[in-house]
Assembly symmetry: C2
């Protein structure tokens, strides 16, 4: 047993790669010597004295945006404080899998402190809600969200030099009565766990003695409001859960189960390529999942959901056992209050410029679902650009003069490139061709303006996805890391009003494609370059992409072993 | 991808052993042909018409006793209905491991329907609480414990011919004020999950800005009331969790953590061998876990716990961050109500005879923590036994006459054997020796009585453990299975009043030993035959015993992989 206790000590004293090494060595029959290379984790005190030279950076939120920002931030140059009601990062794209137990909740979360302790420098995390942002006094007010049964005051405030708002969004009920009371949502890990219990509840209830056939049927009617990726994936997961696992355990009611997806538009997955959309609709039809398009939910009660057909205006009522509401997002209260303060009260979410700086205040950044980039329109600056480009003040732009500013225009106004792609034009100079398609030697202001006048139509706001948030986080941390050097050597595009340059390049989103798992081990994917892929092979692509995107080796191991467990043993139907 | 989808189909269509076989075959590079041997699971309807010939058997509870009873029951001869508020069986001895994330909650539960569907015959499970037992009308009244938001009536009643009560016990607060409001318990899986969140809460709270050192210290003071196996194991688990995982994540408060075990007796683990008890106390002292013996809790408030030293009568108050109350069990309300009905109102738990039949009513059985066996004292029957044994009515018992009844006495009064063991006597005839130790030819009634008069002191009630409950369940299912054949061929001991025999042998508990994990990969074990084992090797024994005792391959796989995960990645500290 001495060998065991030695292994124990080895395993406990060292970091994960060494543990793996130790385990492999042991399993291989030998033991290797190794040194303890773990960095001292340091004391996370709150004494301000040592840090006064550093700028205070407060980060609100530990979702995709906040975590991606923190992950790459060089925290040696800032005094970083992180406030979030959750002490973990959740891999939200797997939430639909958690609702049916394909993946366990704990497999998709990673403690923020685990991600922090591996880094050098000082960083403080407080598990609390931010209640108020006071931009005028550069201060945030927070309240710990812990049980009352803990000792000491649970309110505190933090001063900041820079504030990064990454608190995400909350569910948007569109003020539909009854939604908050009677619907499930799928934003947080707890939501997914609650849905899982409710699904089992519905089955347990449906088999109780003394119920009529209709009552059993109603208990087993699952309604999903919203045919976006989340709603569709949940419907598919639920269908698999029922067909692969629950029908064996509840055989007496297996024919009474019904899943309905309600979509106000004409098609589900309407943000995807229409080939995917119709593939999904056909698959759902084969699976017996009803898709009710062109319907709007009027209100929800504990037993019924009332809908209106958009085309006929007819109102009808459907009994339900459970409703999932997944129809887009709105601002959180703290963000709404902040928007009022800075004159953005009539907007849906926070508006930032292309550098993710919140419009209307200083040193505040917002990213992820709580914000949207207000892309500057090229038409607003068209005269300034023309004048800046027209170096000889001739009133016309030669090709040479134009080519001098092309690069800066493309960086500053990404819609130009999007427009070129949408029109299949290889080059921006094609815009300046005349009506007959001939190249022009020079263009005057009016010609220049009319050549670019359609470009702004391509300035679309980015979707509220993990991908956008993660890219924004990575972008912003880079800006923070190179702030000092960019003060002397700005890297951004030219300021057409004057000869200076922007300090940083503006944020540019790179769409890497998106997946829609459709159940039965089939998925659809939109890949970069207009590629579309559907079927079983895409599901395996999905598995590999999602496994590789995990934030830690621990969650990667857990998620993959959950998938394996599901294949071998099925999903667990215990109501916990 | 065709191979993948073939494997998919194979995996989905077949039962677990085949899946494992298929996976192994695939991983070995080949595919084997196999046939579908899965039994039709059958329809679990509630139509009574087909079952009228069968006796109605209602089982309340799906804990150790209920599940062990159902597992071995030949359900083809009964119309079985199971009522339990939990649709799963929980491997409760691992609950302390769940509190700190060494093992996940879901790894120790197995759905009852999963255990049922593998069996032939009909069995119905209702997820509901039993509210009332009406023994006079042979009926139980139940209420489903599901959310209100499900359709149909959630109350129903069931008729029975036989009733098996295995509802377990609830926490006993001994009417101490504040316990129900401010203490944690460790009876259910949900309790363990709640404790896990609270432990993390205490740490998150302790590091918040603006707290005094005392407030931080108070938040990190964990108090365990009760030094039994559960309390001690939780203290050990918590200590490991703190030392192995949390100190790295919360380095600023690592020296403020304190764990205190409060025990009213003089030693912790006082139901164990005293070598184990003192080993545990020494280990706890080395680990810095305070053990406060001889103290009784007077009351508990949200911030303080008030205690009284038994020796001095001094009352003192200790601030706490969290209190776990684990001090023994009491009857559940439905059992209390039932006890009132059958005249057992002044007892702590239900009294049964040695055949697990509830005293004072017909066809009702009780087992597990909700009941205790009222062992018949041999002194109550001593005259009857003497007369029955004295075949020639000589007024004295010869050795031959005595040996004729020995077997029946030993079966009917197990305390005789316990007494012999405790006195190290090899044989029951040794009891009849005279004061000088010489064998006697015959004994008269007074001599016979005085020879056995000390025997009843060994009739102890059984502890409220999983081991007892499981053995009782297995025993009772055997009785139910052989009921018919035992009606004609009774297998029990002789009824001394008359010449008939008892239908069944009475229940006899076989103690297989018990474990006490003490943290730091050390455990103590009491093994059969007065053996005691302590240290790291015992922890490995514990691992193997607990892995082998799992109720399904799924939970075995999960528990073992949880242990492995803990070694490699540590425990997760996300607050979910």
């Amino acid at each position: 047993m001495r060998v065991f206790s030695f292994i124990n000590r080895v395993i406990h004293a060292h970091s994960t790669p060494y543990k793996l090494l130790a385990l492999f060595s042991v399993s291989g029959g030998g033991l290797v010597a190794f040194s303890d290379s773990q960095a001292e984790s340091g004391r996370h005190g709150v004494e301000p004295s040592q840090k006064e030279s550093k700028k205070k950076l407060v980060v609100l939120g530990t979702g995709w945006a906040g975590t991606s920002f923190l992950k790459d931030l060089d925290i040696s140059s800032y005094d970083v404080q992180v406030v979030s009601p959750r002490n973990y990062f959740a891999f939200t794209p797997l939430l639909p899998s958690v609702t049916c137990g394909t993946v366990e909740a704990r497999s998709i979360v990673e403690p923020i402190r685990n991600m922090i302790k591996k880094r050098s420098g000082e960083i403080n995390f407080w598990e609390a809600d931010c209640l108020k942002i006071d931009a005028a006094n550069k201060r945030v007010f927070c309240q710990s969200n812990l049980d009352a049964n803990v000792v000491g005051s649970n309110e505190f405030s933090l001063e900041y030099d820079y504030l990064v708002i990454a608190v995400g969004a909350q569910v948007n009920t569109f003020n539909t009565p009854g939604v908050l009371e009677y619907c499930h949502f799928l934003k947080e890990v707890e939501d997914a766990q609650r849905i899982r219990r409710t699904v089992i509840d519905c089955f347990e209830k449906a088999v109780l003695p003394g119920l009529s056939e209709e009552e059993r049927q109603t208990n087993l009617h699952f309604i999903i409001v919203g045919g976006g990726p989340t709603g569709v994936e949940f419907a598919a997961e639920l269908h698999d859960f029922v067909q692969e696992d629950l029908v064996k355990l509840y055989p007496s009611v297996k024919d009474l189960v019904k899943i309905t997806v309600i979509q106000s538009g004409d098609h589900i997955l309407n943000t995807f390529d229409e080939r995917i959309s119709s593939f999904a609709e056909q698959k759902f039809q084969r699976d017996g999942i009803e898709v009710l398009t062109g319907s709007r939910v009027v209100n929800v009660s504990d037993k019924f959901i009332n809908m209106k057909m958009k085309s006929t205006g007819e109102v009808f009522s459907v009994p339900h056992g459970m409703v999932l509401w997944s129809t887009g997002v709105g601002a959180r209260p703290v963000v709404k209050d902040f928007m009022e303060q800075i004159g953005q009260g009539n907007r849906r979410v926070l508006a930032t410029d292309e550098w993710l700086r919140v419009k209307g205040c200083q040193d505040v950044y917002a990213l992820g679902d709580c914000a949207t980039i207000d892309q500057r329109k090229i038409m607003e600056d068209i005269l300034t650009i023309f004048k800046a480009a027209d170096k000889d003040n001739s009133g016309t732009l030669t090709m040479d003069e134009f080519e001098d500013v092309i690069e800066d225009i493309l960086v500053r106004y990404p819609q130009v490139e999007l427009y070129l792609t949408s029109k299949h034009l290889p080059d921006v100079t094609y815009l300046l061709k005349d009506a007959q398609g001939n190249e022009r030697e020079e263009v005057n202001y009016e010609e220049f303006k009319s050549a670019l006048c359609l470009v702004d139509s391509q300035a679309k706001s980015l979707p509220a996805t993990a991908q956008v948030a993660a890219q924004q986080g990575a972008y912003l941390s880079r800006c923070f890391n190179i702030r000092e050097q960019c003060e002397t050597n700005p890297e951004g595009p030219r300021l057409f009003r004057g000869s200076a340059r922007h300090q940083f390049r503006p944020f540019r989103y790179k769409h890497l494609g998106q997946f829609a798992p459709l159940g039965g081990d089939q998925a659809a994917a939109e890949l970069p370059g207009d590629w579309v892929s559907m079927g079983h092979s895409t599901q395996w692509l999905w598995y590999s992409v999602y496994a590789s995107k995990q934030v830690s080796w621990r969650t990667r191991f857990l998620v993959v072993s959950d998938w394996g467990r599901r294949y071998i043993f099925g999903r667990d139907s215990s109501r916990i």
